[in-house]
């Protein structure tokens, strides 16, 4: 178990720091557009789908960043062709999955009707984001056992 890459990478300072920083940054960033951590926590606690899905997105994005750092700084473990996929997964989860109604990033470019539609299907984006991140971590050999 300890030798599975997603757990093993935590033994190394840089990948562990990169993973932790990404998890914290992604989990807390909605506090910025929501003008305060209290507002974010209130929304987080009152939005059922966010309760489990958003922490999962934050953790998987962190693991993805940790694996990337591990590959670069500790030992080559995987092809980095999947980087774009992981970044896309995080992007979808962070900007479209985390309550777009509260963080209307997309509204800058799109009309209200489309924003409303995207907000209504935000839980789907969260699930898609998690699926993409899991796939990318798998492709990066994150679930593979290394000696």
């Amino acid at each position: 178990m300890k030798n599975i890459l997603i757990f093993k990478m935590w033994r190394y300072t840089l990948p562990a720091l990169a993973a932790l920083a990404t998890m914290i940054a992604i989990f807390f960033w909605p506090a910025l557009p929501l003008r305060g951590i209290t507002n974010w926590f209130v929304i987080y606690a009152n939005t059922p789908y966010l309760t489990f899905l958003y922490p999962a997105i934050a953790i998987l994005s962190g693991v993805y960043m940790g694996l990337y750092t591990y590959n670069k700084k500790v030992a080559p473990c995987c092809s980095i062709e999947t980087i774009k996929g992981g970044a896309a997964g995080s992007f979808v989860g962070v900007f479209l999955g985390a309550c777009p109604a509260c963080i209307p990033v997309i509204a800058i470019l799109l009309p209200l009707a489309f924003n409303v539609f995207l907000s209504r299907i935000a839980p789907i984006f969260s699930v898609v984001s998690i699926a993409i991140l899991l796939l990318v971590i798998y492709k990066m050999n994150g679930f593979k056992r290394f000696a």
Partner: protein, 189 residues
């Protein structure tokens, strides 16, 4: 290494740039001043600004009553654009309803405009029972949001008793916003 720095930089910078754009666009809409003598016809199209008269409109309340700008004059009014499933709006509505009970039920008008076309009248009534005040007016958006350039859910206009816009807010109704409502109600006494 260079590629890593580039990607990490983009990942960090992108959210910050987007947040900055949102903050700046919100600031602009809430602080842009319209000429005091601007005719109403000049502000009907496009986003109305603070200190301008709110554009005239006609919406049908779920009870069938017709609501216009002039029918809401006489006390401070919140025109709130939302959807029943919008969580920040639900939280904010509860707080504003509570404040209205404290200030006096008849001291404030709240017109909630629902912009999701998939919702029914019973959805709106259930929303009012769960999160709002029984006196709040609920109406489906009849092109008003598009007409005045609303782009975000939870957009709220606070109008004075004369129909002039005192504030435009797109974030959750927090204590700061409640204080603004309180001062608008006190000023209209």
């Amino acid at each position: 290494m260079k590629k890593f720095i580039t990607i990490a930089g983009i990942c960090c910078a992108l959210p910050l740039i987007i947040v900055a754009i949102i903050a700046l666009s919100g600031q602009k809409s809430s602080t842009t001043k319209q000429s005091e003598n601007a005719p109403v016809s000049a502000i009907v199209e496009g986003t109305p600004s603070v200190e301008a008269l709110f554009p005239d409109f006609s919406l049908t309340e779920v009870s069938g009553e017709t609501i216009t700008r002039d029918s809401l004059k006489g006390k401070p009014t919140i025109v709130w654009f939302t959807a029943t499933w919008c969580t920040p709006c639900q939280i904010g509505a509860k707080k504003v309803a509570q404040l209205q009970k404290e200030l006096g039920d008849d001291k404030l008008n709240v017109l909630v405009v629902f912009v999701d076309p998939k919702e029914s009248a019973s959805d709106l009534r259930n929303w009012r029972n769960q999160f709002a005040h029984p006196d709040w007016k609920l109406a489906f958006d009849n092109g008003l949001a598009e007409k005045i350039g609303i782009r975000y859910l939870d957009s709220k206009y606070l109008l004075g008793s004369d129909g002039v816009i005192q504030d435009f807010n797109t974030s959750i109704a927090d204590d700061q916003y409640l204080a603004l409502i309180r001062s608008a109600v006190n000023a209209s006494k």
